[in-house]
Symmetry: C2
Subunit: 185 residues, 2 copies
């Protein structure tokens, strides 16, 4: 499953895959619990095998969802992993979940001896970069209603899995405002 995801970015040999696997652990986390709390420096790349999660932070007491992640996706707080600074963001499970944790420091140590692994993760990060650019475009010049409709199109079942208050803050609006948008069907 993890390997299938990897292969979709860059084919790796059995040996390379096993080298990565060596530094992975499977975690079972309950709904509403944190995979990583606010304030810790991110040293792990997570892969969601089952469940869904959100990256969140507080702005003046307001709980803001930066992103959602569902099965078969990677979750990383890049701004912490790539700078070495503590993250003001946490990762919370929105459903009971099964998570594969990859030790990032150990993984990065593999790069000099396993170029294919470095290539794999370079391509994964490139893909993430494209996702972020698209998100910026959406936030910069779409109305809240357009962003809501786009989100439903991209993740049709998100309404069944994620509380509306998180969707609201993800869209950059208040729950009241989201209610209004939903009401005018």
């Amino acid at each position: 499953m993890l390997r299938a995801l990897f292969n979709s970015f860059h084919k790796v040999s059995d040996e390379d895959y096993q080298a990565i696997e060596q530094f992975t652990a499977t975690l079972h986390i309950k709904k509403n619990h944190d995979l990583q709390p606010i304030g810790h420096t991110c040293k792990t790349i997570y892969f969601i095998k089952k469940g869904c999660a959100r990256i969140y932070y507080f702005k003046e007491d307001i709980n803001i969802t930066e992103s959602f992640s569902f099965e078969n996706n990677i979750v990383v707080r890049y701004e912490s992993l790539f700078t070495g600074r503590p993250s003001k963001k946490g990762i919370q499970l929105l459903e009971d979940g099964e998570i594969i944790a990859i030790n990032a420091a150990k993984l990065f140590e593999l790069f000099p001896t396993h170029p294919a692994i470095e290539t794999l993760f370079r391509k994964i990060f490139q893909h993430c970069l494209v996702e972020q650019v698209n998100r910026i475009e959406s936030l910069q010049f779409h109305t809240a209603e357009e962003r809501y409709k786009d989100l439903l199109q991209l993740s049709p079942n998100i309404l069944q899995r994620v509380p509306l208050k998180h969707i609201a803050s993800y869209l950059g609006i208040t729950p009241v405002s989201l209610s209004r948008i939903r009401a005018q069907h």
Copy 2:
């Protein structure tokens, strides 16, 4: 100059640097001219030696600035370079500029034989990823006024170099709205 920038991400040997240099060209572009027009597939990584540029696109006749880039920075339309799809975005010079163009296809071909070059660009892309995440945070939950002040703090001389209309669309607001924000000092 380019090498100094590279070194700030990852030290490369003379040989590696020369391998990259082989696929670079220096361009002189006049103010208001396009470095790359809308609709072309991005196959080049640009480095700004002198001048400043913006990535822009149209949304229903409205000319939107996605990002600004100044001296000593890299400009790439990731969503095109990393997907191979034509970009609906262009790159325009806002001042007469001197640009170093790196042929991305040739560069990527160096990766298997020059692992240090791959590492260098992985780190550059990681840095860009962090920048994009920060931009998302700014767009998602700051008011237009906060975003304006943050921009001035980050690029204090931007007002002298960039027309306000571009700054407005970069902030996700109309020029009229930016005028108002500036008026209430």
